[in-house]
């Protein structure tokens, strides 16, 4: 029997990761008997390494992430890769991820490209195509005409050409962006915006000006900055700002590797399992970056607690803690009064299944040695 077959026999007794590692590491030359012996030893050792029932793995994970937290630097900014563009790292980033914040401080994407673009073909063009252009980016002058309540924007032709825009395209997208306004082009690359109703107060015009400046012209919404870089002999694009759904739908993007650091976008576009993996990766990246050593299993457990009911829940009183069945456990965390009042309305019953409640009542906790309900019956004397 070949070594592979010996290994395969253990498929239902050993986890996948170990099996595949064995496939890689076990020398093919060994005799069948030796291979069997190795497999037996591996299995025996694996069984020994299993976490024991009752082990409070949750707390161990919390400790394993909380303890190195004290050693992390608070310094928010770090230069990514090629000394460009800031990203949040360190403790603030971990807090941000575990909080389950919808708006992260530095959204970022790493866009990989398909061949031949990954070899550098049209890389600048692609980058500019992806980047969101607002009117303010190509305008050289914006002037208000209060008397006629209209706004005139002078377009910088140089910049417009750089972004592959001509007047017609520009007008079209501006009209789409400002449906409540009348948009017109004048000679000398001047665009005119007028309100549909005649009189608009001064304040309104100013507000309108700001809105017009922000109107979307082209590119992918949300991508504020692009940076083509060469990494491991391949061209890719790093962006500030993120829009996973739109970027993935572009034909030249390698959708298998492109990613963002915004977990909620991943959840929306690719589902909760992807978000879980992304969460693990993101936290692991930060911890590794700080030169700390935390086993991935702890991150998995945290990620699973955050994701397990199908939605990203932060480790806050609005997220994971709120889902707890025990009133006292919730009350001992934050806002105790609110929890007790609400519990009284629904007539909640606390079954005392978890840890804190039992600590409060001076009773053994249902974890570890407190889990067993063993009664010994000594022999009659």
């Amino acid at each position: 029997m070949a070594v592979e077959d010996v290994i395969r026999k253990y498929e239902d007794r050993l986890p996948e990761s170990i099996i595949s590692e064995l496939m890689e590491l076990l020398p093919r030359k060994v005799s069948e008997a030796k291979a069997r012996e190795i497999m037996e030893r591996v299995e025996a050792e694996y069984r020994q390494m299993l976490a024991e029932p009752g082990e409070s793995v949750g707390l161990v994970s919390a400790e394993s992430i909380g303890e190195p937290g004290t050693q992390m630097t608070l310094n928010t900014f770090h230069f990514a890769g090629v000394a460009e563009m800031n990203i949040t790292t360190g403790l603030p980033r971990i807090i941000e991820i575990l909080d389950g914040r919808r708006k992260i401080t530095t959204p970022m994407m790493a866009i990989y490209l398909k061949k031949p673009y990954s070899q550098g073909k049209d890389i600048k063009k692609i980058a500019l195509y992806i980047r969101e252009t607002k009117l303010a980016d190509i305008a050289s002058e914006v002037s208000l005409n209060l008397a006629e309540s209209k706004i005139e924007v002078t377009v910088d032709n140089e910049k417009a050409r750089e972004r592959n825009l001509n007047e017609a395209k520009l007008l079209k997208s501006l009209k789409a962006a400002n449906k409540n306004l009348i948009v017109d082009a004048k000679k000398g690359s001047i665009l005119v915006f007028k309100t549909k109703s005649k009189d608009e107060n001064t304040n309104g015009i100013y507000k309108m000006k700001e809105k017009i400046k922000q109107s979307y012209v082209r590119g992918i919404r949300g991508i504020k900055q692009v940076l083509p870089v060469k990494k491991d002999g391949e061209f890719m694009i790093i962006t500030a700002g993120t829009n996973l759904k739109k970027v993935l739908s572009l034909p030249f993007v390698d959708e298998t590797r492109t990613t963002t650091n915004d977990l909620f976008e991943i959840e929306e576009a690719l589902g909760i399992e992807a978000a879980r993996q992304a969460l693990i990766n993101e936290v692991y990246k930060v911890i590794e970056n700080q030169g700390l050593n935390v086993d991935i299993r702890h991150l998995m457990l945290v990620a699973d607690t955050i994701c397990f009911n199908g939605k990203l829940k932060g480790i806050t009183r609005y997220g994971v803690v709120r889902e707890k069945a025990s009133v006292l456990a919730r009350a001992s965390f934050e806002t105790p009064i609110r929890h007790i009042v609400n519990a009284s309305l629904t007539g909640e019953v606390d079954k005392l299944n978890s840890v804190v409640e039992n600590v409060m009542l001076n009773q053994p906790v249902p974890l570890g040695t407190g889990l067993t309900r063993l009664v010994a019956k000594p022999k009659r004397q």
């Binding site: 793995v57 909380g66 630097t73 230069f79 457990l301």
Partner: protein, 910 residues
């Protein structure tokens, strides 16, 4: 108070006013079930008949108390604001009425007849002259009023719709929380009202807009609605309708949220204190209750006397204010009630809330006896799992030992020696649980007393188990069990090898000691918490206890090439380190350091790894002999390398901990024998090196000048996505950092490898070669937030520089070295960075502390179940297998199953 029909229907089961629940959990009647049902007959196995029956609380129910039940459970009605009569005896019907419990020694509780400390206290009540809104239910009452008909009391939704969506709604409430559910109803109702032109779909009565003036006043169409009116309306709401709001009518009828009867907490939870002057000082709650009772009485009198409506309303509002602040004295819209001194009263909510509140301070956090705390100091001759306890502590800390026929003589000797002579005993406990303190006088008769069944609380002795702890207890290695060694002097002592898991040093750190008191606790501490059980970190699966500092330097020197001793000196050395396996030394006159180190290794141990050293990078151990490689931090230190992990795997925790202890003592013995110190001259550079460093720094300065010049000329090219100025900064930083690194390399290359400072750096015991370069050559660039220093005056950092000077010196490059001293400007820049890093630490600690608290709170009840799934307290599956493969990190080798090792082990066996 008119009798309430609905209340009558309620069975008088236990229902608790929420504030009562949190205030006095012990006082409540708790649905208790006996965990061990008391045997009906004489217990067949237990000779101690006095043994208490342990009851276990199986569940707690929350609810709102009905006025009826409140009266029923009250022991007395409070009618007068007076507290004591002229003799200082509590007034009947007053707030300190002894029917509500006793707080004075000597008195007996009139309700239960027990004495001080035995009586847990009993509630009383006040009948309120007029109904009062309950602050914490205001939001809900508002929702209810807005959503129900002012006439017929039905919810403002058509019956068909209720029938159709009611169940769905309740399901939604269960999943998403009651608050969201109520919000949903509100939406539905506003739409219904819009459709029906603001009329009730049931009785067609016109509805008005209800507003609230915070905190407690309601208006309907600009007209005030009194709590009386509110209460009558809420009474009309049917049970079925209340359920739609997520309220369980069995535990909380809406009208109970308007108080007609106020429960008075027992005196035991608001004890008065007697000052030195003999004056009594009452608790904040008593003060507040006094106000309530006084105003309530006044209101009664005025109503009975037929006073004008305005006066009554004023008093009513005042009563509302007092009761509101009784519940919560931090309501945003109300001025807090204050003491005469102006300090705000601490009322019910403040007692429960926050870190200092009842829940986090008293219920989740507990205090313990049999504990000690003092300064720690090191003692490398202690075993790693020992703790040195000063004798005076051992005299106070005791361990209960049960007297049996076999140890009675032994234990009597302790009693004989009494509490002052070590090792003696402090107490003896009779089988009925009565404790007897041993003093000089009582010893004589006490010696005769002990018999099987007695318990003697003897002094702490060598070999007892103690739990040792250093705050902050961030991981489980912060609390480990040690074996006690009673020692002279007054500090707690520990082996420096365990400093790392505790994160302790000896600059004044204090640590705590706890002595487990029951056999179960001692057994658990021994098997689960002893130092050797904690060798492998559950965070990364490698050893957390290893050699530190001097022990590393010592072993580094010992295992270096060329270290050789005579056989006699080698034996001396081992003996000094308390190692007796001298026979393992080769029978030769000259013995190398590696051979001495090999004595510590198990005979059949083989290992290959890497060391820090560049000369002998490969560590090879074959059959218990160190063939090549230097023992340094990579192999012996904590958190790195596989040497300790492999020994642990193969030989178990006992052998490992002995090994660490031996290595530690050996390292120190080597240093003692050889001599080890550090001097300023370690940082001296030879003439040419000094010149080389000078040249290096000069060149750097020139490079930077060239960069600046090209920037000014405009021949500079920016990095993509960066401005010219930013690019310049980056380039300068790069040049300057390179200079520091090169200086470091130059210094490291040219320093004497045998100088003690270098030995420490090279072995990894302490310091780096960069530190050495900072002392000897140049300190280097000081970075603030990852940039050069920019802060200070306009266009310049300090006034001694010219404006717009972009040179290295003007932005925090410290050219000098520590030995020669810094210029004032350099010193200042260093101080800036130093302050910044202090700030960083100060800001980070609370942030990471909060993150940790949240994580611990969220994950604390996850456990591995018997089917190896990870589940939470409600048995929901979080993971099907822990970490996808079920491997416990603290049993793994760096988080992995080491297949390579198994393969090579198996193959090498022929």
């Amino acid at each position: 108070m008119e009798p309430d029909e609905r209340e009558e229907r309620e069975e008088p089961e236990e229902k608790y006013e929420p504030e009562a629940v949190a205030e006095e959990p012990e006082a409540e009647e708790i649905k208790a079930e006996a965990a061990q049902p008391a045997p009906a007959e004489k217990p067949m196995f237990d000779p101690d008949a006095e043994r208490p029956v342990y009851k276990q609380v199986s569940s707690l129910e929350f609810g709102v108390l009905s006025p009826k039940l409140l009266k029923k459970m009250a022991s007395t009605k409070i009618v007068t604001p007076e507290l004591y009569d002229k003799e200082g005896y509590p007034v009947d019907g007053g707030l300190m009425d002894i029917r509500m419990g006793v707080i004075d020694p000597g008195l007996r509780c009139k309700t239960c007849g027990s004495k001080l400390k035995e009586c847990v206290g009993h509630f009383g009540y006040i009948a309120l002259a007029r109904p009062i809104m309950h602050l914490h239910y205001i939001g809900l009452v508002l929702t209810l009023l807005r959503c129900m008909c002012r006439d017929c009391g039905r919810i403002l939704v058509e019956q068909e719709k209720i029938d159709k969506y009611g169940e769905k709604l309740k399901q939604f409430g269960k999943e998403k929380g009651e608050e969201l559910m109520r919000k949903k109803i509100k939406d539905v109702i506003s739409r219904t009202l819009a459709r029906n032109a603001g009329k009730c779909p049931h009785c067609k009565a016109k509805q008005h807009k209800i507003t609230i003036e915070k905190p407690t006043t309601f208006f309907e169409a600009e007209k005030r609605i009194t709590p009386i009116e509110i209460r009558t309306r809420l009474e009309k709401l049917t049970d079925a309708d209340t359920e739609l709001f997520g309220i369980n009518p069995k535990s909380a009828r809406p009208e109970w949220m308007v108080l007609t009867v106020l429960p008075i907490p027992p005196v035991t939870m608001r004890p008065s204190i007697t000052l030195e002057t003999g004056e009594r000082s009452e608790d904040d709650l008593t003060h507040k209750l006094g106000d309530i009772v006084r105003i309530n009485q006044r209101l009664f009198e005025n109503i009975n006397a037929g006073a004008p409506e305005i006066i009554i309303e004023d008093l009513w509002d005042l009563l509302q204010y007092h009761i509101t602040t009784f519940f919560d004295n931090e309501v945003a819209q109300l001025p807090p009630a204050r003491h005469r001194s102006g300090q705000p009263l601490k009322t019910l909510s403040e007692r429960i809330k926050s870190k200092e509140g009842r829940i986090r301070h008293n219920l989740v956090g507990k205090r313990t006896n049999f504990s000690a705390r003092t300064v720690i100091s090191p003692d490398p001759m202690l075993h790693i799992n020992e703790v040195g306890v000063p004798e005076i502590m051992a005299l106070k800390l005791s361990v209960p030992e049960k007297v049996t026929g076999w140890n009675i003589g032994y234990l009597k000797k302790f009693v004989e020696r009494g509490p002052k002579k070590y090792p003696g005993a402090n107490y003896i406990v009779r089988p009925d649980g009565k404790k007897k303190k041993l003093t000089e006088e009582t010893i004589e008769q006490a010696v005769e007393e002990p018999q099987p069944g007695y318990i003697v609380e003897r002094h702490l002795m060598d070999g007892d188990i103690a739990i040792f702890n250093r705050q902050p207890s961030l991981h489980r290695m912060s609390m480990m069990a040690h074996k006690v060694r009673v020692l002279p002097y007054k500090t707690l002592r520990l082996n420096p090898a365990v400093c790392f898991p505790y994160n302790a040093d000896f600059d004044g750190d204090e640590m705590n000691l706890h002595i487990p008191q029951t056999d179960e606790a001692i057994a658990e501490a021994k098997t689960l918490m002893l130092v050797q059980t904690q060798l492998i970190s559950p965070r990364y699966g490698l050893a957390v206890i290893g050699s530190v500092q001097d022990a590393i330097s010592g072993n580094y020197l010992l295992t270096q090439k060329g270290f050789s001793l005579s056989r006699e000196s080698a034996i001396d050395l081992l003996a000094q380190a308390d190692i007796s396996e001298i026979a393992k030394l080769p029978k030769r006159e000259a013995i190398t350091g590696k051979e001495i180190f090999s004595v510590l290794l198990p005979d059949d141990f083989s290992f290959s790894g890497r060391s820090k050293s560049a000369e002998e990078p490969d560590v090879v151990i074959e059959k218990g002999k160190l063939i090549s490689g230097i023992m340094d931090k990579n192999n012996l230190g904590e958190g790195t390398g596989m040497l300790l992990r492999n020994i642990h795997k193969k030989y178990g925790e006992e052998r490992t901990i002995d090994f660490i202890g031996n290595v530690f003592r050996l390292g120190i013995a080597v240093l003692i024998k050889r001599g080890f110190t550090t001097t300023v001259s370690d940082t001296d550079l030879q003439g040419p090196v000094d010149a080389e460093i000078k040249r290096l720094l000069d060149n750097t300065a020139k490079d930077v000048d060239a960069l600046i010049a090209s920037y000014k000329e405009g021949t500079f090219e920016a990095f993509p996505g960066r401005t010219l100025r930013e690019t310049l900064e980056l380039r300068i930083m790069e040049v300057l950092n390179r200079a520091r690194n090169e200086a470091g390399i130059t210094v490291a290359r040219n320093s004497d490898k045998t100088s003690h400072t270098m030995i420490m750096a090279l072995s990894g015991a302490r310091g780096t070669t960069i530190n050495l370069a900072q002392m000897a050559a140049t300190v280097g660039q000081q970075a603030l937030r990852g940039k050069r220093i920019e802060k200070g005056y306009r266009h310049r950092t300090l006034s001694c520089f010219e404006k717009n000077d972009m040179g290295p010196e003007a932005h925090g490059f410290i050219r000098s070295c520590f030995k020669k001293g810094l210029t004032p400007a350099e010193f200042f820049f260093q101080a800036m960075v130093g302050r910044d890093s202090l700030m960083d630490t100060a800001l980070r600690t609370p942030k990471s502390g909060y993150l940790y608290r949240r994580l611990a709170n969220a994950l604390q009840d996850l456990k591995v179940d018997y089917d190896l799934t990870v589940r939470d307290a409600s048995q929901r599956i979080i993971q099907f297998m822990y970490g996808e493969d079920g491997i416990d990190v603290s049993k793994s080798e760096g988080g992995k199953l080491n297949i390579n090792r198994i393969v090579s082990e198996t193959l090498s066996e022929e």
